[in-house]
């Protein structure tokens, strides 16, 4: 069994370093975490913090600054600056003793239990945690691939992409056209594209009130739809047009060289095209043969891969059941995995897995909404147990309180991730 699943992508450098003895801290169990985002940073921090030095934790993450996707739409809308969504790994290293390696994992040798790094060298683990986020499915939007992202940004991984999209929106000619190509399910952050539309409208209403916003959407329905549509009507009446699948929203291609979008044969000439393609688990999951279809299946009790019990997969990359792909979910799953890993490696107490999620979205100034749910692990999947959603017609005081809550949550989750 194991043999078949062996999926090591050997580079020359990695192979060479195999000869070097693998350094193992004084018999301490070793946990390696791939990806320092919502899932990975949280898991690394909880394991380091709660094992009080009994477990050696290595975090592999190529970037030195992590820009949260959450609140990146608020940056586009002018409610946050870019610096306010930037985080570094300094505290994880200095306060929690986590060995932060700024490198890219290229493969996993599941039999030898080692991770190969792009910079050469490899790291061995007793337990591996992978939380690499998403990658885009090639060819999902004909005419677009990652090489077109500087012309038609996705801004679905935050940082330079988000800054590019924002500057393009601000440079639109008066009366110009912004088109979003929305993704099919399942994808990262179900309300994300629609919160983005709200923020784009907020900017354009101020600076470019005759501009048009078009969404080409392959989905018949979307998250918090009634709430968004009510808000769009109220704040941005007439500015936003959504083309659903019944009008060809699922039959879309783009031409980056001419800035055109073809929606079911009708060609739209646009000034900004924001392409959010269909998604799959971050590439490393596939490289490690941990995927079935586009995602990595996991057991909700522990977040262990269903294909390798020494590996836990977290966050957007997983197929776990009912939880949406969100930063909140990834953070919640990380705590369950951290507990299970500590239990397995040091015998610490293990409690039944509990999960929850809340996604806030901002429609306009002080007009916040939310949706959330709680979940429990069953043998089959992570199953929803209870939930709530904002109501249409709520008064301004409640909407403002909801927005303020989201600011509190942002502080909470980012300090929970990065210390």
């Amino acid at each position: 069994m194991k043999f078949n699943r062996r999926a090591f992508i050997g580079t020359a450098a990695a192979a060479a370093s195999m000869v070097a003895p693998m350094v193992r801290a004084q018999g301490k169990p070793r946990v390696v975490v791939i990806g320092g985002g919502a899932g990975g940073a949280t898991a690394a921090r909880y394991i380091a913090k709660d094992s009080k030095g009994e477990i050696d934790v290595t975090l592999i993450e190529p970037t030195r600054t992590y820009y949260t996707c959450f609140f990146s739409n608020l940056y586009i809308g002018g409610f946050r600056d870019l610096q306010s969504i930037a985080h570094t790994y300094a505290t994880l290293a200095s306060e929690y003793g986590i060995n932060v390696v700024h490198d890219y994992a290229t493969g996993v040798d599941r039999d030898a239990k080692t991770v190969a790094l792009a910079g050469g060298g490899r790291v061995s683990y007793d337990r591996l945690i992978i939380s690499p986020g998403i990658d885009f499915i090639d060819g999902a939007v004909p005419g677009w691939d990652v090489s077109a992202q500087d012309v038609m940004p996705h801004a679905y991984k935050a940082g330079t992409q988000t800054a590019l999209l924002k500057s393009q929106i601000e440079a639109m000619p008066q009366g110009g056209t912004y088109v979003m190509v929305a993704p099919p399910n399942p994808y990262r952050c179900p309300p994300g594209p629609y919160e983005r539309i709200s923020m784009v409208a907020h900017v354009l209403k101020e600076k470019n009130p005759t501009a048009k916003i078009i969404i080409a959407d392959p989905k018949a329905k979307f998250s918090k739809q009634a709430l968004f549509e009510e808000g769009w009507q109220k704040h941005y009446g007439g500015m936003i047009e959504r083309i659903g699948p019944d009008f060809g929203g699922e039959n879309v291609s783009v031409r980056p060289d001419t800035m055109e979008v073809d929606v079911d044969g009708e060609v739209i000439k646009a000034d900004v095209v924001n392409v959010i393609p269909a998604q799959k688990a971050g590439h490393i999951c596939e490289a490690a043969s941990l995927t079935e279809g586009n995602w990595a299946p996991v057991d909700g009790h522990t977040m262990q891969s269903r294909l390798d019990e020494n590996i836990h997969v977290l966050g957007d990359a997983t197929n776990q059941g009912d939880m949406p792909k969100s930063g909140f979910s990834a953070n919640s799953q990380a705590k369950v995995a951290a507990m299970a890993v500590r239990g397995a490696l040091t015998g610490s107490r293990v409690f039944p897995a509990k999960f929850s999620n809340t996604c806030w979205s901002l429609i306009s100034t002080d007009d916040g909404i939310k949706v959330g749910a709680s979940y429990a692990a069953t043998d089959e999947k992570i199953a929803k147990t209870d939930g709530f959603i904002s109501a249409t017609g709520e008064d301004a005081a409640l909407r403002k309180a909801t927005y303020e809550e989201s600011i509190g949550w942002y502080e909470g989750i980012t300090s929970d991730m990065f210390g």
């Binding site: 919640s332 409690f351 309180a401 509190g408 949550w409 989750i413």
Partner: protein, 236 residues
């Protein structure tokens, strides 16, 4: 006085209303309540010339949204209850005057609370007279005495398992900050465990209005709430 209220009750109670079945009763004895209200008059006025003192005036309190008197400087916690949409119906009034902090943790009403249910019901019967046109606000109809909010002593006596609390708390710390900062979401560290426990049970029973917290508390057992209280009490 009592008689009027009873008559009133009978007139308003929908036949077979579930709550009325539980505790079919008039609110209480308003005459006696006028005396109990002396415990409140240091801070509150009610009646035709009533104005705000240390506490807001209590005219029209039944059916009034919490924290809604213009010009009165409410605590941040009461403002939050207002924003959440909490309304002073009999159940919430009863809970608040029984133990103000169980319902609104950071409330500025520094009052120990009326532990005797009869005292509460009588004072509410008295206050009920100062809310006009009760027929217009059926949701605040004084058809029944609210259920007890005070927790049975055995729940308060549970000794929390702080280690379990630590795991359970990890779920809370996505929103509540461990260093006690309270921007947008209140701080829950270093509370007296009893305050913590009553607050969580008030969400669990959906007396406190917030949907996130009702959901979070709703699935916690009494032991789990105690475990969380024990953990957060000592969180540095």
């Amino acid at each position: 006085m009592k008689w009027t209220l009873v008559a009133f009750t009978l007139a308003l109670a929908p036949p077979g209303a579930a709550l009325a079945q539980d505790t079919a009763d008039a609110i209480g004895d308003a005459d006696r309540g006028a005396k109990v209200f002396r415990k409140c008059t240091g801070c509150h006025q009610v009646g035709s010339d009533a104005s705000n003192r240390a506490g807001p005036h209590l005219n029209g309190i039944f059916g009034r949204r919490a924290g809604s008197i213009e010009g009165f400087d409410y605590s941040k916690a009461m403002d939050r209850a207002h924003d959440d949409g909490m309304v002073w119906d009999i159940e919430h009034l009863d809970a608040y005057i029984e133990n103000p902090r169980a319902l609104v943790s950071g409330t500025r009403m520094s009052f120990r609370g009326l532990k005797d249910p009869q005292d509460r019901h009588d004072v509410l019967a008295y206050l009920r007279q100062f809310t006009a046109n009760p027929q217009d606000i059926p949701e605040s109809a004084p058809t029944a005495v609210a259920r007890e909010v005070e927790l049975p002593p055995e729940i308060l006596a549970i000794v929390g398992d702080a280690e379990y609390g630590e795991y359970l708390a990890s779920e809370c710390l996505t929103c509540h900050q461990s260093d006690g900062a309270d921007a947008g979401i209140p701080s829950i560290t270093r509370w007296h465990p009893e305050d913590f426990v009553v607050a969580m049970h008030a969400y669990k029973r959906k007396l406190r209005p917030h949907p996130v917290m009702q959901m979070m508390a709703g699935r916690l057992s009494d032991e789990e709430i105690a475990a969380l209280a024990a953990y957060f009490e000592n969180l540095e």
